[in-house]
Structure formats: structure tokens, C-alpha cells
Amino acid sequence: MKLKKNHLYSLIAIAAFAVFALVGELFFDAFTLRIFNNCAIYIVLALSLNLLNGFTGLFSLGHAGFMAVGAYVCALLTMPPELKEMNYFLVPIVPWLKNLTLPFVPALIVAGLVSAFVGFLIGAPALRLRDDYLAIATLGFAEIIRVLITNLQSITNGAQGLKGLPRYSTTWVVWICAGLTVLFMVMLMRSSYGRSMKAVRDDEIAAEAMGINVFKVKVTSFTVSSFFAGIGGALLGHMITTIDPKMFTFMLTFNILLIVVLGGVGSITGSVVAAIAVTVLMEVLRFLDEPMNLIFVKTGGLPGLRMVVFSAMLMIVVIFRQRGLMGNREFSWNMVSGLRNAFVRKGAGGQDRGHSGHGGRDGHDGQGDGKSEGGHRG
């Protein structure tokens, strides 16, 4: 009975959000709408990084590279031949690519697949490494991808980048992508694949002893994550309508990492909330860069203060609240009702979660959705 009620709530929430998006699409000004849509893209990106960092325990810093692959593949597939000719004025484009055009949705999927393939190629050797070595190797691969894109002029147009991409990333497209990504992640985390990922994260050796093929799980996670990173990159490219290699530096990976860490490493809800919060804050805090007139102090505009605030925020969260906003809890309707009638219990539970114990992790993870979906799991 309860299960049905929760589903009903979810449906209502989704419908309400769809109405909100529709209203937004009609009444937001271009700037607000852009931020609104950026939120969706960052949700996709944050979830894909969280799949690696949070759920599989692989610390990857190469996300910008996969995003670049996705963005470029999608852009090259959707640009009409005349536009390509206009862009490639220094070095002509390779002939086989010139007349290749696909509609947006297939192009998006191809972009994701190519990105996933690149992820697989990189992951297969790199995932033999651990921890910080893996981080630095993925960072290296991303940097190599960027250097390749800069130098392969006849394919990617080099440092000039691609301009005037068709604006396919509409509100509907990006939010449907975000929704599908969330749905996929939730389903994945409830499946046996997701559980093996968490097992690998919590204790690799124990996971192996339980018969999990650790390497395979890692490569799968890396490939899936690259797929979504590619999709996110492609959406971002078609939102900004201009891409160039300088866009995909470590800075971009850092922004996504910021979202994942703030939201809570290992929480889908956290990533979603933090993606929205950070994207909105990034814009709202723009006033920091402009001249300010505080009552006693007048500043003449401090370009860069905004980024200082963001870096400081990351540091503070990492040092004082390592589990981020959500820790590894998830949202569920039970949580809402739990909040209402069991304040005391929740306080105790929250404290318990504060410790970064290994053993109890899965229990907490399941806590949210687990209760309502217990029947499915059997």
C-alpha cells in the first residue's frame, strides 16, 4: 500500500516539475533559462563522476577529456556541411567527415558511445592503477585528449574550435537527459551491478573474495561514466554553441568534482541537489566580482573573488564536513514523513552517519529507497 503511495508522490513531483519547466520555458528570460538548463547538464555530469568517485571508489580526474570527446563527436555529426566549411578556414576538414550529418538525438547517442569507447580504451590499462596513481593517470589521459584535439586540425579544427553549433540543447532535451540519467543511476544502484560497485569501493579484497570480478566491475563503471560524461559534454557544447579545446581543461573537471564533493560522495540525491545549488550559486555570486558598495567598504570590483569563494567552500566542506551535504544518504518520501514524526530517531541516525565507517555504508544507502522498494528486491 505504502509503495503505491510513494509512487504516486513521485509521479506528482515529476508532473509538478514538468509544469514548472514548461512555465519556465515560456516565461523565464534567456539568462535564467540558460542557468536552469545548465543545472540539468551539470546533473548529468555530476552523476557520471559520482558513479566513479562515489559508488565505485575510483578517483578519476579525467572527466573533461571524455566531455571533450562527446562534445566534439556530437558537434561534428550535427553540423551541416556548409557550417563545417565556414569553420575550417585554416585547414580543410577531412573529406569523410565533411558530409556526415545526423539528427541530434542519434548524434548524441553516438557521442556517448564514442566517449564510452574511449573510456574503455583508457580504462582498461589505467584501472590497473590505484588511488592517486589512477587520478594522475586519468588526468594525464584527459590532457592528452585535449592536446590531440588541439593538434588534429583537419578533424577538430584545432585551437579555433567549432563555432555556431545548432542550439539543440533545449529545456526539454536537457531535462529529459537529466531525468533519464537519474533514473538510470537509481536503477543501476539497485541492481547487482551497482552493489558490486559499492562492494569494490568498500573493500576490494573482500569483494574479490566474494567472487566479484573487480577489474571488470571497474572497467564497466568507467565506461558507463564516460558515456554520461560524453552526453553531458555534447549537451554542453550544443548549449553554449561554441566549443574549443581550452574549454575542457582540468578546471572543468574541478567544477564537477566540487559538485560531487559538496553533494556527498556516493549520493545521487546529493549530486542532483548540489548540481543545482552550485550552478545557481555560480551565477548568483557573480555580484562578488563586480564593484561592491558595502556600508563602510567600497570595493572597486574584484574579478576572481567568486572563484575564491568557491574554492574556499570546497576546502571547508572537505575539512569540516567530509561527507558533504547528503553523505551517502538518498532522498525518499519515507524520509519526508520520517522527518515529520521521528525527529529524535533521525538525529541519532545522522550522528551515526557522520563517521566514515565502512561496514554500515550499504545499510544507510538502502535506507531511503530500500524501505519502499523492499518488495522488489525480494
Binding site: 590499462p125 590497473r128 594525464g140 575564491v308 574554492s311 574556499a312 570546497l314 576546502m315 572537505v318 575539512i319
Partner: protein, 325 residues
Amino acid sequence: MHADIPIIDTGAWAVASTVGMSLPDRGRMTLPLFLQHMANSLSLGSLYALIAIGYTMVYGILRLINFAHGDIFMIGAYLAFYGMTLISLPWWAALFLAIVLTGVFGVSLERAAYKPLRDSPRISIMISAIGASFLIENLAVLLFGGRPKGVNVPEILGKVIHLGSVSIVTVSLVIPVCTFLILGILLWIVNHTKTGMAMRAVSTDIDAARLMAVDVNRIVSFTFGIGSVLAAFGGIMWAFKYPQLNPLMGVMPGLKCFIAAVVGGIGSIPGAVLGGFLLGFIEIMTVALLPQLSGYRDAFAFVLLIVVLLVKPTGLLGKRQAEKV
């Protein structure tokens, strides 16, 4: 002032273009040219080595990639620059002051950003290091301004010397000499003093060292201090060699020098120096021999890293560590 610096020594890119222009037969290497490239790779390699030592020492003790190391390098260069311009110190005094201040800065960074996390999972410390790196970079943009600043190279260091057919700027000669001097002093400290013994103990087993009455915090601070001092020295020399400062100047050298440290075998000081020289040599020589690859220059280090990690993950001089279950 920096117009005086001959084009031959403004980095591999310029070297590549001179090679490309002066030799119709690209890639042919004459002996004087080879010596010139060797001199260049030696000085670039020494700079890399200086920074790589800091990485390797910190990693050896805390198992932490100090992502902010490249930014400490940048801070050192800026402090020296402001010492010379704002309070118009002579260059050697500015150098000294900047090195000391950067050392203090490095130690306080460790206290503020890494010490609270010493018992946390390694990923947390690494995120903290990345955060610290970005915070320093953004603060630098805010305080120093994003526009590049030109450095006045002191006359003694900016002079060009001709050794036979090789012409070389003094600073490029000073750097390797200093690097070897510093390497000698460091090896002496690590292997023959009590502090060095404590450092080795902490890097072998931090808990056991604590039980043996080693003041771990002091040793960690000391290590960060040395690392930052070397980074500052490297940064200032870098600024004299490539006389331009910007708040992000530490990012690429920082990454590359970490790679140098990994290639040499992380945790080993001679390894870091070897890795630094190897990296400098590869960068300069590849571009010199194959100028058409100069666009890929920044990728060489990463390719080298990946090859080394896959073939010999412990690096050239690193010791294999058994995995503890």
C-alpha cells in the same frame, strides 16, 4: 631587459623554431647544435628536478600528492618579483626573502589544509589538495591580477656566455649547479642527520615512528618547509629563465614535475632528480629532432607517465612496496 635574451634560450618551442628555420634539412643534428640542446635540456631538467624533489619528499612521508606544490612554486616567483619591485630589494635579497616566506607559506598550508585530514581516507586529502591548489590560484588571480607580469632579470643572470659554439644564458648555467648542490645537501640531511633519520622513519611507518618518540608533526612540517623552499627557488629561477609571471604558471610545471617524480620512483630523491632531467631531456630533444611534434609537447610528459606507470609502476629508482591487507 628581456629583449636581450637570445631566442635560443627561451624554451624548447623557440629552439624548435630556430632549428626549423636555420636548417633546411630538418632534424639533422650537428654537434654544436646537439650541445646547445643538451645545455637547454640540462637547465630545464634541473628546474623540473627542483620541483620534483618537493613532490617526492611529501609523497614519501604523507602519501599525498601535493597538488598545491605547483602553486607554491608560483607564489615563490611572485614574492621575489614583489620583493624586487615593490620594496626594491636587490635581487639576491628578494630571492632569499621570497624563499623564506614561501617556506613558511608551505608549512602553514600543510597545517591548515592537510593536517586536519591526516587520518581521513586518502581521497579526502587529495580533494583537499586540489581545493587548496585552486584556492591559491584564485587568490593569486585576485591579489596579483590575472595579467602576466614581466620580470626584470638581474644583469649577472641575464648575461649570455659563449662556451665554444654553445651560447648560454648565465641563469641556465647557475640552475644545474645549484640543483646538484641542493641535491647533495638534501641527501646529506636525509641520510646523515637525526632529522633525516626521523624523516625516513616516518616515511616507512608513521605510527611506529610516533611510538619511537619521533615528533611526526615537526617532521612533516620540516618536509613541507624543504619542499616549499625548493619550489620557491625553482619558481624564481624559472621566472629568471622565462621572464614572465602569471597566476597559473605553476600548473603545468607542477603536473609535469609530479610526473617526473613518479617516473623517477616516488619517494626517492635521486629518482626525482633523474626523472626531472629525463623529462627535460625528452621534451627538448623530441621537439628539436621532430619539430613537427612541437604542438604535442605538453603531452609528452603524460605519455611518459602512462608508459612508466604501466610498465614499471614503482618508477625507475623506486622500491616496490608490498600491499598491506
